[in-house]
Structure formats: structure tokens, C-alpha cells
Symmetry: none
Subunit: 220 residues, 2 copies
DNA sequence: TATAATGTTAACTTAATGTTAAGTGATTGT
DNA sequence: ACAATCACTTAACATTAAGTTAACATTATA
């Protein structure tokens, strides 16, 4: 399940949010200051950070900026908690790299739907393409088949990508060699088959079809 | 390279997007209003249009609708830029003929991957040739006869392709052997007939005619 | 009608692909 | 720098579909 970090200096808010989020099935970790949060995320990468803007010490905006500079957190979403009518900080917050904001006083229902929405939106916007049960993530070079994550090697990834670039089209061995191995590389004639076999193991033999005499095609 | 038109009333956005897209090698043109955009595309057909929904004057949705009525732009893709949580306009935008949408604030990486994805997705029509009820798909190596898909073996495909290359022309056995089997291959004299029979089963005996003493021809 | 050409069928042969495991080279972490 | 791991390639062998053949049936035309 998704991991959420809440950062707020008020103990009441931490408890209140923590209770509501845990009830929804999220894993929740907490921090009372920006410093504590920055320290925490070094070994504990959350999927979402809910960050209070107004905090003693380094405030939410600074914390956010520091977080955005950490490569580990590149896929982590950040939501700001702002006091009502604090327009300026909303704008500053978005510049600082936040993905959304929620105004206090917090209504649990509102917050939860925003959280769901932001996870959903982020899913849509991540760099992937899906073909039926087969989902290719261009960022992580991973294949998700029927919800199950599988990592692909470079050749497998290139090969699958080629086949998926035109589902249904038959790619002959020359085209495959040209595209995946490059024009001048010479490899034995069973090499392609072996990679096809591995891809078939990671998906299901149904998706990659052999067209004897011509080559291979991807269908879904 | 691909040409992209950005339409947004905010100068900052134009600059920001323009910079990021040019850096990726795209040719970028810009417009500040829907009117300007509509005027611009008359002589300058982009491959992709990134269109802000909220604009003074005619908004993005209206602009999109007008564009979709221009035959010149039939192959042009449109991506909407929407403010956050603007769910209604997202739906309306897709109805208006947009191909995708991206929410503000814009993350260059997200936008670029969406652009790549959309170009990828859209390069998906296969090339084929049809002769009456007979349709040959060069990509899938399949035959579609009266809407019914049939797969062809290599010899069947080569043979059908030869006959279809000049409908009406009679190909004698020597020509067929030369073209489909290659000059030096020697096969028995019933081999061609067997393949013709199989092709006739997959289409209908009406399409491939025997010209006794000479050879075969394809008619439609 | 006679006969040479083509149609049809099913068994047979071959070429293409599938599979496996071992070997080789590259990459990673310590 | 080193070991350890991982990706990739290779080659032998297994399997399968495509292609071929030959016997026999049918048809068109002189």
C-alpha cells in the first residue's frame, strides 16, 4: 500500500490525519519539523508527503524545495497544507514543486478524495503505455503484466518496445536486428528466439505470436 | 522533426514550454490567443497542438472544435492544458476532440513523455492494399476476405502478392516459380497448384482464375 | 472422346522456430 | 581491484508448421 508522510508541528493535526489515513489503509509516518522530515526521507521514501506550510524552523516551502532536489524523491508527490486565504503561499508552494494543496481547516473527506485524485492523476501522467494486460513503464524500464511488476533487461525492453510500437505488425528478423541490435552487429540466428522466449515467460506466450517465415508480432 | 504549436495567453508558459520542447528537438511555433492560433494553422500545419483551456476571448475548447472542423488538421494531435482539478473541462475537452490532456502545474518530464507517447500511439495505421473483397495487409501478413481475417503462410503471401501486382495479367508457371521460389529452386509440377488451391480456400475460387495452358490470373 | 493440363488429397520431408544449458563478457558493489 | 552477479550469446537438440510430393480425380479443349 501507499506510504504517506505527514509533516506538521501540531500534534493534534498529526494524530487526526494519521488516524484518518490509516483507517483508509495507507501506511503513515510522521514528522514534527521540516528537519525531521528531511532526515526521515533519506531511508524511507514515501509515495506522498503532506506538508504544513507554516512551521517553526524551516517552513514547508523550504522543506519542499530541499526535497525536490533529492533524486530519491523524484516520484514522490507533495501536498501542501495551507491556512485559509493564504493565496501567496499557494502560489509559492506550486513554484516550489508541490503537486497540490489543501486548505485548513481540514475536512477528512475532502483530503481523502484529493489524495486519491492525485494518485490517480499521477498514475495517468507517468510515462507508460499499456496494451491490454501488458504495461510498459518507460521510466523504470519495467513491465507490469496483469498487475505484477517485472523488470526487463535492456534487450528485452528494446525488443518489446519495438514489437509494441505497432501492435499487430509482423517484424521480421532483419528489422528486429536492425532496430534492437543495430545495423552492423552480427549475432547467431537463435539469439532473437531466446529473447523472445524470455519475454514470453515474463508476459504470457499469448501476447507475442510467431508468424513462421516472417517474424514476430505483438497482439493484445 | 515534428512541429508543435503552443497556444497560451500567459507569456511565461509559452516561454517555458517553448524552451523545453525546442531542447528536445521539436520545432515550436506559438500563439497567444485562440484566434491567432486558428489563423496561424492555415498556412502552417503542426503535428501537435498544445492548447490552454482557459484563455480570454475564445477559449481552448472552442478553438479545438474549430480546428477539428478543418480538414487540413485531420492528422494533427491536440493536447489540452487544464488547471488542476478542473474535471469538467477535462471531459469537455476530450469531447471537443482533444487527444489527451495535461494538468497544470506542468512538469516538463511529464509533458514530454506524454507527447512522445501520443506520437507513438498515433503512428499506428498499417499499410495495406485492397482489391475488391480481398485486402492484403503488408504489416500483419494477413489477408482480409470479406471482412474475415485469415493468416497466410509465406509462400501463399508471396504468390498472392505476385498475382495481385497486376490484376488480370496471366502469370505462367515459369514466371511464378521465378518470382516466388527464385530462379534456381526446382520443385515438382503440382506444387504451384497446391498453393493455388489453398489460396482459393482462403478467398474464394472466383478470384483466382485458371487459364488452361498458360497459368493463373487474379481478377476482381 | 481422348488426352494433356489442372484439381485434390494425404502422407511425407524439410526448414524454421522452440528450448535448454553452458559459456562469455559486461556491470555492480565492496 | 576484486569478486559476484547479471545480461547476453551460443550451440546442440527438440519440436512444429510450412512446404513438397505423388497418386489419383477431374476438367477443358482439340
Amino acid at each position: 500500500m501507499k506510504k504517506i508522510l505527514i509533516v506538521d508541528d501540531e500534534k493534534d493535526i498529526l494524530e487526526f490525519l494519521g488516524y484518518n489515513l490509516r483507517k483508509e489503509g495507507y501506511e503513515v509516518i510522521e514528522a514534527k519539523t521540516g528537519d525531521e522530515a528531511l532526515h526521515l526521507v533519506k531511508n524511507n521514501i514515501p509515495d506522498l508527503i503532506i506538508l504544513d506550510v507554516m512551521m517553526p524552523g524551516i517552513d514547508g516551502i523550504e522543506t519542499c524545495q530541499s526535497m525536490r532536489e533529492m533524486p530519491k524523491l523524484k516520484d514522490t508527490l507533495i501536498i501542501f497544507l495551507t491556512a485559509r486565504n493564504e493565496d501567496f503561499s499557494q502560489i509559492a508552494g506550486l513554484d516550489a514543486g508541490a503537486d497540490d494543496y489543501v486548505s485548513k481547516p481540514i475536512k477528512p473527506k475532502v483530503l481523502l478524495s484529493r489524495i486519491k485524485a492525485i494518485f490517480r492523476r499521477n498514475q495517468t501522467q507517468s510515462d507508460l503505455e499499456s496494451y491490454g494486460d501488458v504495461e510498459i513503464n518507460y521510466d523504470t524500464k519495467q513491465l507490469k503484466f496483469k498487475g505484477k511488476e517485472q523488470s526487463l533487461t535492456k534487450k528485452e525492453y528494446d525488443l518489446l518496445l519495438l514489437l509494441c510500437s505497432k501492435p499487430g505488425k509482423v517484424f521480421n528478423r532483419e528489422e528486429i536486428l536492425q532496430s534492437v541490435w543495430g545495423g552492423d552487429v552480427v549475432v547467431g540466428n537463435r539469439t532473437i528466439d531466446v529473447h523472445i522466449k524470455r519475454l514470453r515467460e515474463k508476459t504470457s506466450s499469448d501476447y507475442i505470436k510467431t508468424v513462421k517465415g516472417f517474424g514476430y508480432k505483438f497482439i493484445f
